[in-house]
Each structure stands twice: as C-alpha cells, then as structure tokens.
C-alpha cells in the first residue's frame, strides 16, 4: 500500500523521526533509538523495596529501516521489503538458538520495513584491524601527530583488553558455529562483525543476505567472500585471514577437510575469472 502523505505518520515512522541516524547504506538506514521513554516512571512504593527503586531504564535498540525504492513498483517493493526483514529475523533466530553470537531481536515491523535489534555496545572489527581505521585517523589530526596509523587500531584493541590474535581466532570460532548450524551469512566482511565492549564476545551482524544451507560449496564461498574482504580492507591480510581459518578449522574438526578442498577450488575459480576479466 503506497503511504498517503495525507494520513498521519505511522508509529514506526514517528519512532524513526525521534531516532539518531548512525549509518546510511544502499539498502537500509540504521538508527539508534529507545522504543519507549528511556526513563521509567516508578509510581508506587513497594512494601519491602522502598529504599531503592531499582528502576530498569530502557536499553537502546538498533533500528534497520529498509526504505522504499522509488525505481520498484510499490507493491513489489513492499513485498520484497517484508521478505528481507522476515528473512533477516529468521536467520538471527536460528543463530540465537544455535548459540552463535548475534544481536537479539527486539522489534519487528515487517510492513514498515523495520527490524529492531539489541544494541551492541562495541566496535566494528574493521577498525580494530590494521588499515580498517584509515578514515578515523584521517579525521583525527591530533592522532596522526604522535600515533602512527597502525597504532590506532592496536590502541583500540588494548581498550577492549584483547590481543589481535585472540580477536582473529574469535572470528573463526563464530563463523564455524554458524556454519555448523547450516547458516550461510552471505556478506562476511570485517564491517559485519563487532567486538563487544568487555572484549569477551565477537558478534556477527547484518544477516540481510543470510540463508540456510548445508552445502560445502556455500560454506566455502562464504569464507572466500571474507578472504576477499580481508584482502581489500587490511594490508598484509594473508596472515590475519590464516589465523581466522586456523581457528575455524579447529572448531569444525572432521568437517574441515572437505571445506578446505572446496575453498581451494573456489579460489581457483575466482582467479580464473579475474584473469579472463
């Protein structure tokens, strides 16, 4: 249904109006918001808790809003948007039940194109590895004076209390858990992973292209996509990606050899394709 400009905005549109835009992608806008007034009103005094109210204030939520595509027919656009929101929610649910670290689901308005997720307080893995934080260094002129570009992400990592090698092996473990549950991410990059503050959890995000498959081919391609992302984002990526693979292999155990063989095939195909141009 094309929304009429005459009718008053929907609650979800009003919510988006009050939200803070944090990321603008090609497909979606991403916001930070509170689903209700963050401050809870505690009205009654409780018989045995009157000294401390222990009010639980609202936690922020991440809203991923898949906006209308003007170039698509409105009803086709609405149904594609619904399917994308539903698909992302279902993939996250499968991950949650399989013990893969992903954000919890907090709100779904499929008709409105909005998925609300647990807010992950942390940093994108991209900026925690060498080369990924170039934009950040360029913007911060003070930092470039006394701290070299490749120190920046190490400082960020230190703030999380995590060594680079631990981070890389955490990435391998999380992807392995996901593949063991037959979930293919579809867009593995270091931007689509976050390290939670506290440093204990590596969280996989952005399941917009995820799907269910037990095929070795699909898992190998998933890894290959990440390998290419490492190569294009992080200088001297090979040893970094190898650390990821080593911990992935260890977690997969006896299933690793078939995937390794297929990954080699996929690499070869990739190389041939780029030679043909």
């Amino acid at each position: 249904m094309p929304s009429s400009s005459l009718s008053s905005p929907s609650p979800t549109q009003r919510l988006l109006g009050s939200a803070q835009l944090i990321y603008q992608g090609a497909e979606a806008k991403v916001y930070k918001v509170y689903l209700r007034d963050p401050e809870l009103q505690q009205i009654a005094k409780h018989a045995d808790h009157d000294t401390c109210s222990m009010a639980e204030d609202a936690a922020p939520v991440l809203l991923k809003y898949r906006f209308n595509k003007r170039y698509r027919h409105p009803s086709l656009d609405a149904s594609l948007t619904r399917q994308r929101v539903a698909g992302e929610a279902r993939a996250l649910m499968r991950c949650l039940r399989s013990g893969v670290n992903v954000p919890g689901i907090r709100m779904v308005d499929a008709a409105g194109g909005v998925l609300g997720l647990e807010w992950v307080d942390g940093k994108s893995v991209r900026v925690l590895l060498p080369g990924g934080s170039e934009v950040m260094v360029a913007q911060d002129s003070d930092a470039t004076d006394d701290v070299g570009p490749d120190r920046c992400e190490d400082a960020a990592l230190a703030e999380f209390g995590v060594e680079r090698d631990d981070l890389l092996s955490m990435i391998g473990v999380e992807i392995a858990k996901m593949h063991i549950a037959d979930i293919i991410h579809g867009d593995l990059t270091t931007s689509n992973m976050m390290l939670r503050r506290g440093g204990k959890d590596l969280v996989l995000i952005d399941f917009g292209l995820a799907y269910h498959s037990s095929l070795v081919e699909d898992k190998a391609v998933d890894l290959y996509v990440l390998e290419r992302a490492f190569a294009s984002t992080h200088p001297d990526a090979e040893p970094l990606f190898n650390s990821v693979l080593a911990s992935y292999a260890k977690r997969l155990g006896k299933h690793w050899s078939a995937i390794k063989k297929r990954l080699d095939d996929v690499r070869l195909r990739g190389r041939k394709r780029s030679m043909v141009g």
């Binding site: 009205i43 009654a44 936690a59 929610a89 949650l96 399989s98 779904v108």
Partner: protein
C-alpha cells in the same frame, strides 16, 4: 507499579507485579464472568478487570513483557489485532504458537497462580490504575525488577521449545549465563512472532 511511555503510540502502559496472590481462582472466574454479564453491571465488571493478567512465572524479565506489549501496540495501530483487545493481544504475543486459548491457559491467570503481573494500556495518564489493581488482587506489590526471581525456568524452556538447542547445551553448567541466554531467545521469539513462518 511502573509506567512506560510510548509517545509514538500516544499510549501509557502501566504494569505491576504482585506476589503471594491469595485470590487467584476467584479472580480467574471473575474475569471469565465479566465477559458475559449484561447491562451496567457488566460494564462495571469489565472495567474492573480491564487488564492483561499474566502468569509471572513464565516471564523472564521486564523486557520480555515489554516486547510483547510493543508488538501488541504495533498490531493495534495497524488494525491487525488477532484477538479482541490490546490486553488479550499481549498474552497472544507472549505465546510462541498461534492458539489463543492455549495462550490464555498458559500465560493468563490460573487457580495455581501465586505471582501475577497486571498490565493496563491507556491513551492518557490515568491516576486510579493502582487503586483498581488493589481492588481486585489480593497480593503483595513488588517491583517489576523482581520478575526473574519468580521465573520457572524449566517451564519457560519447555514452552519456548529450548530443550536440546545448541545455545543451551554449551553453557548448561553456568546457570547465570543460561538465564541470560534464555531471556534473550524468548524476547527475540516474541519480537519476531509476526514473521516466524
């Protein structure tokens, strides 16, 4: 009693948890009777029990409840309630299946209820809600933050079909961790019910 403000819905939702409930069976039959009473008495009775009455033992946190409230408000605003009222919709939203009578049986008040949560949604601040709660519930008011203290975790696992899930097998030995994981999964289940299948 606590009040949650939802400006996007022009709605205030009042919630309160009671423990040591002494009139559960009487309350349950009063709610059932109110639905079929005629005339002014019927109106008054329906007003007296105009709440969602929720079995607190199946609720894992206030966020679990808030998530059901949010999805119910959303359905109401889109004209797509699956049940008669916003209050029954909250109970429907909590139950992982689509069966409304099962939802009320599990998540509503029963003769065995000792811990009960009341929810009332209103379009403006209403000051007599707490008095109305005390008028019908014989129990002790406690903060919503005490919800996890009365949770029956084994039943939650059963009704949300969490037994045997990988997420819980890995951490079975750490009960704090397990509760956090269960809470996150049930919240997520409630949030995505509309796109589950």
């Amino acid at each position: 009693m606590e009040a949650y403000h939802y400006p996007q819905f022009n709605t205030v939702v009042y919630t309160a948890k009671f423990k040591d409930i002494k009139n559960a069976e009487a309350l349950r039959s009063r709610i059932v009777k109110a639905a079929s009473l005629d005339g002014a008495d019927g109106e008054a009775e329906r007003d007296a029990v105009n709440f969602a009455f929720i079995e607190a033992k199946l609720i894992t946190s206030s966020l679990h409840l808030e998530t059901a409230i949010y999805q119910a408000l959303l359905s109401e605003s889109q004209g797509s309630l699956r049940t008669k009222t916003i209050h029954s919709e909250i109970i429907w939203a909590l139950n992982p299946t689509n069966n409304i009578s099962e939802a009320i049986k599990l998540f509503g008040v029963s003769g065995r209820t000792t811990d009960l949560i009341l929810v009332h949604a209103a379009t403006s601040d209403t000051c007599d809600v707490q008095q109305k709660m005390h008028n019908i519930v014989d129990g002790r008011l406690v903060p919503m933050s005490t919800i996890p203290d009365s949770t029956n975790w084994a039943n939650v696992k059963k009704h949300y079909k969490l037994n045997g899930e990988l997420a819980l097998m890995e951490i079975a030995s750490d009960s704090d961790r397990e509760r956090t994981v269960i809470d996150n999964i049930v919240i997520s289940t409630v949030a995505m019910k509309s796109v589950m299948t």
